[in-house]
């Protein structure tokens, strides 16, 4: 009996070892294959020869544009959700339901619906703005949950004290809560933007192309290049070695960008030993 116990224990350790080995090799392969071609000219040069040479300048810029516009649209929405959660107690449960519902929609369905709305119905063709909007919808639930949890973490006496000083609900919101929500906001924003930067499915149909675009000059028929879409397309057709090199570098680059964006989250929340564990679940559902 004791032998079985020890065997099981060893077995579990073996499994863990294999898992860690898998994770390490994942990152190692990315670094080993991607590092050689990842240099300054790769980042700064525009693409040439349909991806066989040149760099990924406009892909990076395009991705940046997409996540920036996502941030601009998602922020007021998340703040509004948080405000309504705080100040209108009757709406709390429905609001959370809406947020969970939005969060669980598969990204490809979002992309499909976005295509029907923006590209077909509104006749925008492929547009960067559509990409920003749909990414904003993806980012909003996560950001809202960060804000709401940030609010719940505040001591309840803050509310009582602020009320006793004669502040109205709006005064309390702008003068007390919003300044205190800056930190959860930034952490949540960067975490969500990191995820959004790596998403391909939502922007597949509505915002991104593989070549031909640089920086947009309007809304309609103004797609952008983006890093995830670039990798997506190139990986389907890559047989030449130069393309392969660039593919690995692009992959490494996108992983680095995502990690850099998500670094604040890891820094804060790891230091406090997984304080917002409810969020950990929400983040990992996608």
């Amino acid at each position: 009996m004791a032998l079985l116990a020890v065997l099981f224990h060893r077995f579990c350790q073996l499994i863990l070892f294999l898992t860690v080995f898998l994770a390490l090799s994942l990152f190692s392969i990315l670094i080993i294959r991607g590092m050689p071609s990842l240099n300054l000219s790769f980042i700064m040069d525009p693409m040439a020869n349909a991806g066989l040479s040149g760099g990924v300048r406009y892909q990076i810029l395009g991705s940046l544009m997409l996540i920036l516009s996502a941030a601009i649209f998602a922020t007021p929405v998340a703040l509004s959700f948080c405000y309504c959660f705080q100040n209108i107690p009757q709406f709390r449960k429905p609001l959370i339901t809406v947020l969970y519902a939005l969060n669980s929609v598969p990204s490809i369905v979002l992309g499909f619906l976005a295509f029907l709305l923006f590209a077909v119905y509104l006749n925008w063709g492929k547009s960067w703005l559509a990409g920003g909007l749909i990414l904003a919808i993806m980012v909003t639930p996560s950001l809202s949950f960060f804000l709401i949890d940030g609010l719940r973490a505040l001591p309840s006496t803050y509310s009582e004290t602020a009320k006793s000083l004669g502040l109205s609900a709006d005064d309390r919101w702008w003068k007390l809560y919003v300044p205190l929500l800056v930190k959860p906001y930034l952490t949540g924003l960067f975490l969500s933007l990191g995820r959004a930067a790596g998403e391909t499915a939502p922007i597949l149909f509505v915002a991104s192309v593989f070549y031909g675009a640089t920086l947009p000059s309007g809304i309609k028929d103004n797609p952008v290049l983006s890093l995830p879409y670039h990798i997506f397309q190139l990986s389907q057709e890559a047989y030449q070695p130069e393309a392969l090199d660039r593919l690995w570098s692009s992959a490494l680059l996108i992983v680095l960008i995502v990690l850099v964006l998500q670094a604040p989250y890891y820094y804060f929340f790891w230091n406090r030993n997984r304080k917002g564990s409810k969020h950990a679940k929400l983040k990992l559902t996608r």
Partner: protein, 274 residues
């Protein structure tokens, strides 16, 4: 005493200065289903006075304070029927908004609640949402307030530091100063010295005593020594078999003295430990 030279334009400026009755409670019934907790009537709190409220735990002293500054009505569990006049105006009258009333009545809690902002920002937190002051007016006000509560020497070089780094006693004085910034008519204090050490307690009691010369102070306390140190009225909240809820009565002079032959009610013996 007119504060005509102070830029703080708050609420309570009686034309002749503070006289008369600050707070008149004609009827105060607060219940949380199914039982009635408070059943007070005919209480008056004159201006420039100090009233201590004593009673056993759970009898409703803190609840009483929160009825006065209209904090309790926001809690859906409580049903409140009151007829209270603040400076002659009923507190529920449309002329007087909740926010306005709360600026004229300050509340100090047992655990000093200080926001994670700078000392200066904490201090000016209430007044900034009431009126716009210029930079010089603000610094003047900050200095005056901190001098008033005895914090100026300790804190004047730390005004932009996070207020959470202050000691508990300093925080409590900061909270009092913060409420004083609004120039309130009444200061409600819910066991302000319970979480403080004896020395700080004495300092704050001195402060409270001096404040009671200018404003009406209603102080809830458990500390028997404190009651005897503070010069003012003492109200006892108690329940007897006939009353539905807590009622109040005033203590006579002789029960205040630390006197073995003093007559204590049976009720009060339970919470005052000799």
């Amino acid at each position: 005493m007119q504060n005509s030279n102070s830029p703080v334009k708050t609420c309570c400026l009686h034309p002749e200065g503070r006289i008369g009755t600050s707070l008149k409670i004609k009827r105060l019934i607060a219940s949380t289903l199914p039982k009635r907790v408070l059943n007070l009537s005919h209480l008056e709190f004159p201006a420039r006075s100090l009233t201590s409220i004593v009673g056993r735990s759970g009898i409703g002293k803190s609840t009483f304070l929160r009825v006065i500054n209209r904090l309790l009505e926001e809690d859906p569990q409580w049903t409140i029927e009151v007829d209270i006049e603040f400076l002659g105006t009923p507190i529920h009258s449309p002329k007087l908004s909740k926010e306005m009333l709360r600026k004229c009545i300050g509340l100090i809690l047992q655990e000093p609640c200080v926001f994670p902002f700078s000392v200066k920002r904490n201090l000016l937190f209430g007044i900034r949402s009431a009126q716009k002051l210029s930079k010089s007016e603000e610094s003047c006000l900050v200095e005056k307030l901190l001098q008033n509560v005895g914090l100026w020497d300790e804190v004047n070089n730390r005004l932009s530091e996070n207020a959470e780094h202050l000691s508990v006693g300093q925080k409590q004085r900061l909270c009092i100063a913060r409420s004083l910034a609004l120039n309130p008519e009444i200061l409600l204090m819910d066991e302000p010295t319970s979480s403080l050490d004896p020395d700080t307690t004495l300092k704050i009691e001195e402060l409270i005593q001096s404040l009671s010369k200018e404003r009406c102070i209603i102080l809830v306390t458990h500390d028997r020594e404190q009651i005897s140190r503070l010069k003012g009225r003492v109200l006892e909240f108690y329940r007897d078999n006939l009353s539905a809820g807590t009622i109040a009565r005033e203590w006579k002079e002789k029960t205040l003295k630390v006197n073995r032959t003093a007559e204590f009610t049976k009720e009060s013996q339970s919470f005052i430990s000799t």
